[in-house]
């Protein structure tokens, strides 16, 4: 049995973690069943949602005779709303026992119900409304889901858990379009069939969530879990998980108690998280690096312009990134658990820096697009789940959803600002200069963040005691 189960039943986890090495000859599951279940939910849900987004332009233009441009313009608004809803979802999820699952079910369910509505919505306003509801569902579910992943994982395997989840998620995103086109192939104008199949798939996802994800990941054990996590695991040497630096959090019981009091799930308490040094540091690092992260569309456009990627292949570029993300999410998540999440997070931005460098270089080798997409996917694999894993270390259990949502929204906001600035720079100075500027900015941010996170943490003030299986045998 894995720790998540014992945790769900209220047993102190560090106790079991400390006992495990004494139980020889038994290999433990790589990730918690709950994480696998949540990964399955995400995989299935992404098949469902990517089915719809893959055929949406075709459906709007060829099926309905509309131009999707008006909808495209709305998309930015939806994304902004989704980021705000994410904060709300995070907040709701923190308010009481079993709320994470309830809010997640609400979010996944809402998105599932939107699919059959597409069958009857035939005008752009209605379709826009349905997709807005779909985005709301996505916004609601993201933070509680990530909180459940982190709450059901050992402190020492957060990176691996998020890696497994993100890999499964991306696999679904890759399978979705394939499924949609197979359905279209088998039918005549089978958009309605695509929506129906998408709905059925989404319902399976919701059912897996309802049936196989435990509802009480926090609850009565919340205090215990948090308390236990602060206790050093006897007999296992401290492993550096990341740079929660000196004085971050508090190893002493009294300090912990103070945190628990401050961790009542109110909006104010969520915002007060930013007063905690360790959380603030992660949030600021994510924000800073996000400000230098050029959005994907620019990367693909740059690739196309610099390398003359044929128009026909343009739509396939994101698949290259996704494939690399899929393959590397787990290994890099595990690496993050070993050598420190912040380091891997930082190294991921290093990979992005290399991608920028390649795009700026005069080298025109045939493998260049592959190299850039591989680096781009590496960047995602080393940052997307790893950031959540790193943030999970510092956010108290009672505020896990809100805290993660806060970091995610901050990062999303920073990237949005970067996109605007990059677009303006491209207009003013041309693509090469703009990318050069972004490269310099990213390099500075990586250096600055590297200096902050690179400081060795004092072992005695470690918040998260490592689990024994992380100790190299």
């Amino acid at each position: 049995m894995y720790v998540a189960d014992s945790r769900a039943s209220g047993a102190p986890s560090a106790g079991s973690a400390a006992r495990v090495p004494d139980r020889p000859g038994r290999r433990r599951a790589a990730v918690a069943p709950t994480v696998l279940a949540l990964g399955t939910v995400s995989l299935i849900t992404d098949v469902s949602s990517e089915m719809v987004s893959a055929i949406l332009p075709l459906y709007l233009v060829v099926g309905l005779g509309l131009s999707p441009l008006g909808f495209g313009l709305l998309d930015g608004v939806y994304n902004g709303v989704s980021a705000l809803v994410r904060l709300v979802g995070g907040h709701l999820a923190d308010r009481g026992t079993g709320r994470h699952k309830a809010v997640a079910v609400l979010g996944y369910g809402l998105s599932a119900l939107c699919k059959p509505l597409l069958l009857v919505a035939h005008t752009l306003p209605l379709i826009g409304a349905v997709l807005a509801a779909d985005r709301t569902g996505k916004g609601l579910r993201t933070a509680p889901r990530d909180a459940m992943i982190s709450l059901s994982s050992e402190p020492g395997t957060q990176g691996r858990s998020f890696g497994v989840h993100r890999a499964m998620d991306t696999a679904g995103a890759l399978l979705g379009p394939l499924t949609a086109f197979l359905v279209l192939r088998a039918t005549v104008d089978g958009y309605d069939a695509v929506f129906t199949v998408s709905f059925c798939v989404a319902m399976v996802g919701v059912l897996v969530l309802v049936l196989f994800v435990p509802g009480k990941l926090t609850g009565p054990s919340a205090g215990t879990v948090d308390g236990v996590r602060t206790a050093p695991a006897e007999g296992s040497p401290p492993v550096r998980l990341d740079g929660s630096g000196p004085g971050s959090g508090s190893g002493s019981g009294s300090g912990r108690k103070g945190t628990a009091e401050a961790a009542r799930p109110t909006f104010r308490a969520a915002l007060a998280l930013l007063r905690r040094r360790d959380i603030r540091r992660i949030a600021v690092c994510a924000l800073l690096l996000g400000l230098a992260t050029v959005s994907d569309s620019f990367i693909y456009l740059l690739l196309q312009r610099r390398l003359g990627v044929p128009d026909r292949w343009f739509a396939l570029l994101p698949l290259g990134t996704a494939a690399a993300f899929l393959l590397l999410a787990v290994p890099l998540g595990r690496l993050a658990d070993r050598i420190g999440r912040s380091r891997v997070f930082l190294a991921g931005h290093g990979a992005l820096l290399c991608a920028y460098g390649l795009l700026l270089s005069d080298w025109h080798g045939a493998v260049l697009p592959y190299a850039v997409l591989l680096l781009h996917g590496t960047f995602y694999a080393a940052t997307d789940g790893v950031l959540m894993a790193a943030a999970s270390e510092s956010v108290p259990v009672a505020l896990r959803s809100s805290g993660l949502a806060l970091v995610q929204t901050g990062q999303a906001f920073a990237r949005f600002v970067c996109s605007l600035a990059f677009g303006a720079a491209w207009t003013a100075w041309g693509d090469r200069t703009a990318l050069g500027a972004a490269t310099v900015l990213l390099a500075c941010c990586v250096l600055a963040v590297g200096r902050t996170l690179g400081r060795p943490p004092a072992a005695s003030t470690r918040l998260d005691a490592p689990t024994s299986e992380e100790t190299p045998a």
């Binding site: 990517e50 332009p57 233009v61 998309d75 279209l184 069939a193 049936l211 343009f314 739509a315 677009g423």
Partner: protein, 343 residues
């Protein structure tokens, strides 16, 4: 609930949902039969010869969307009797335009895992003379009055990962030389008298002048749309006016019909048909009060035709170009109309 019970519940649910999904796919697959049968009350369609030139009086050529054996085929009716029997050509297009004996037909090609798209140049007898791969979902098509230049706009997804924003690519083809400009973004942009560069420039909805040198189109950047006048010789586009989409140049070349984003309307259905006098810049709202998301065509110097969504995809309507009168139905289950003179 025990694990066993949960697995059982899930298995039952999956079986049920799989049955629903399979049924919907089979239903959609079987629809080919139904769609191959004409609907009661629908327009009569029969196979025949469709040409882009020749005698027989004024005609309309369009994409027939009525269910039946000739669905999606280029079809024709006399302009004087649009409700009459349709003659279908056997050539399938999702978007079409023709002039001067040249047709441009945008097609979806179902092959492999992902759909692809192509633009096919047709001669006056609808025989293919050239074909070009196009990078996205076909949207607009036009041929210059002489038949020499063809243009098409497509929607390109994938500019950003896991996102539903679309951008457009407008291409121009010289059918005589075969020279293709895959994207108008290659042209020099002059905005407010100055060279303008931006990463987010999109062009769509090209309409040609009869001189085979100038054209008008929509340019979008920074959330605004502009009417631009293009010069094929100098390879430039120059902004003329703002808030103009999908322009359509009148036969006498004095006016531009377009869809205008009107303040106060829903953000996702904001368009009304307008006509602008090119000399004075004066705009006239037309009598159509519905949201028109189409590049209108001029039936003659006084009348515009355009598509609105309908039960079988789209229906065509006409409205006077001077703001008077009222919209009138032209054709049901039809798209991409072209008026051809019988001379």
């Amino acid at each position: 609930m025990t694990t066993r019970a949960r697995v059982l519940v899930l298995a039952c649910a999956i079986a049920l949902l799989a049955a629903v999904a399979t049924a919907s796919v089979l239903h959609a697959a079987a629809r080919s039969d139904r769609k191959d049968h004409a609907q009661p009350g629908g327009p009569a369609v029969s196979a025949g010869r469709v040409a882009l030139t020749g005698s027989g009086g004024d005609r309309i050529v369009f994409r027939n969307m009525a269910w039946g054996p000739h669905r999606d085929e280029l079809s024709t009716v006399p302009a004087s009797r649009p409700g009459g029997e349709r003659t279908a050509s056997g050539v399938q297009c999702v978007r079409f335009h023709a002039a001067g004996g040249t047709g441009i037909c945008l097609q979806v090609v179902h092959s492999g895992v992902q759909d692809s798209y192509r633009a096919v140049v047709l001669d006056a007898r609808l025989h293919e003379t050239a074909r070009y791969d196009i990078p996205g979902v076909p949207s607009r098509a036009r041929v210059s009055p002489s038949g020499r230049f063809a243009t098409w706009t497509v929607f390109v997804g994938g500019d950003s990962y896991a996102n539903s924003t679309f951008s457009t690519r407008a291409a121009i083809l010289d059918t005589r030389t075969g020279r293709l400009t895959p994207s108008l973004e290659a042209f020099r942009v002059i905005k407010d008298g100055r060279d303008y560069h931006a990463v987010d420039i999109n062009f769509w909805g090209v309409t040609f002048s009869a001189d085979d040198r100038h054209f008008y189109a929509t340019m979008a950047t920074k959330g605004s749309t502009y009417l631009v006048r293009g010069d094929l010789g100098a390879r430039t586009v120059t902004t003329l006016h703002s808030n103009v989409e999908c322009p359509s140049l009148s036969p006498d070349e004095t006016r531009i019909a377009f869809k205008k984003r009107v303040m106060g309307l829903p953000a996702d259905a904001p368009w009304r048909l307008y006509v602008m006098d090119l000399r004075s810049g004066r705009e006239t709202a037309l009598a159509e009060t519905r949201n028109v998301d189409d590049q209108a065509v001029w039936a003659d110097d006084r009348t515009l035709a355009y598509a609105l969504p309908g039960d079988f995809g789209a229906n065509l309507f006409t409205v006077p170009a001077d703001g008077t009168g009222a919209p009138r139905p032209l054709l049901t289950a039809a798209l991409s109309p072209v008026y051809l003179g019988g001379s």
